[in-house]
Amino acid sequence: MKATALIAEDEPLLAQALRAELRTAWPGLEVLAAVGDGRSAVREALARLPQVLFLDIRMPGLDGLGAAMEIADGWPVGEAPMPQLVFVTAYDEYAVQAFDAQAIDYVRKPVQSERLRRTVARVQQALAAQQQASAPEAMPQALEQALGEWRRLIGAAGAQAASANGGSPLRFISASDAGGSTVHMVPVQDVLYFEAADKYVRVLTAEREYLIRTPLKQLLPQLDAHAFWQVHRAVVVRSDAIEQVQRDESGKLWLRLRGRPEKIAVSRLYAHLFRAM
């Protein structure tokens, strides 16, 4: 079976090994690009539109999860079906436990031929099913299904070890001033949304903005999943602060929150949260 793929893996030897193993396990697979970081993965994936993505979870710059979310958002769904996503991970990352628990297939480092053959068989099967369902009238359902699968994969890959506070939801966000001399205790019920920005996470209430250093990935498991929804790779909003959802000409969704002037973009992966009843 002929197909195209992209490999994103930051350790050159392991990337080389995965490529070599794939040559044997799937001779018809053409590797369009092999990159070493998440940003390059997004760029190359969107430029070359491969059918299969092998993404290492731990990468410098943007990690595999972030790369997958950006690719999902930027993917031109009218031009090509969503690619098959396969995460690559070392034995000791938390994701492994989540993958195993949810029976999700992944590539484990070091790559072992037998296991990789099984992954290849599954991906080939999925590609074949995708080609059969590519009749125009089946498109929206196929896209929904693919996005659902991506959500499941990304959810498992982002799994963290049980948070230190024993799983009870966070009640305060402690944010320090620029000088570090004052710590503000911001009640979580005052927070309207969180937004990841470079090294910081912005914490926004109706009145003002605070910066914290805890990554969104670590913050998310400590928040009440019903009260806060992730709507984008970098944004988590308070669900009952959402006032309006608007769809623009390109089909992209935007949120407006009570008490905040700005519009917030919704990732394609999370658009299912806002379908009209």
Binding site: D10, E11, L14, A17, P60, A90, Y91, P110, G180
Partner: protein
Amino acid sequence: MKIEWRDVLRHGLLVVAFCFAIAAVITIIWPDKGYPHHLGYSLLIGPLIWLVIEFGRFPLRRPQDPGGWPQGWRGVALTLLGIVVGYYGGSALGDWLIGGGNAVVGAGQSQRDERVSLVVTVFAGVMGSYFFYSRGHSSALAARANAAERDASEARLKLLETQLEPHMLFNTLANLRVLIATDPPRAVEMLDRLNNYLRATLSGSRVLSHPLSAEFERLGDYLALMAVRMGERLRFRMELAPELAGLPVPPLILQPLVENSIRHGLEPKVEGGEVMVRARRSDDGAMLVIEVSDTGVGIDESQLASMAAISSGSFGLSHIRERLATVYGPQGRLELGALPGGGTRAVVHIPLNA
């Protein structure tokens, strides 16, 4: 204050046994009174001394005194108090119970006899006290030595855990697995490096110091292993002047610093960077100064402040500080700072005269 009643009972029985012996000695000095008579007095005086000392030591001793005995003048005073109370109280009690003039210290006795019996009592009291004191002391010392040994093995285990990080080991093996098929000579070289690294790590937790040149060689092994993994994203430079090569340093003290540089500095940076390790003599010649710097993503001031405040998540740093303080006292220091062009610098100061 918690009283160990089993210990008290044991002490009491020993005191009673001791009294039987003392009574025998006194019978030899004054055979005319007979053993039962002397035993009676002995069994009154001895336990009274013991009771005063046994229960008197609780309010007197301080928490740091080993073996539950008051140290210094407090111990001596307590022993004397016990002897005085025991001798006079016990004698008076004996006179009253056993019968007037026949006492050891009685109205009809000569001054000489009285003095001898006082000497015997003081001697016995001091001997007994000393016996219990030294027993308590030595068992406390033994317990302390045990605890110290336990602490030392715990520290060794922790050191081993930080140095023999499974993540590093398995990643190296994963890379080795690739090299065996694709580049056998390089695989052999990597295996040798790993071999050196493991040997140093396993023995490094047992020896107290090794030469700086050995420290640099082990860092070289570690960096070479990491360079295989990271490819061109990791470059490194090591500078060691020959005259410093033989100076002793605690084994693998620098390794967590290099590890931090790679993990927190270079790994998150897409283009990677350089790690530099340099050793020099301080300007006044009194200190060995070793610097580990990188051109990684760096840390900012507030991060530095929070690291100093909680020191959690930086077990490596607090561990180095602890080790330096143990070996060199306050002169052994570790400083961490941000570099102006991005990147981080850690500087270890080790006194040369130590």
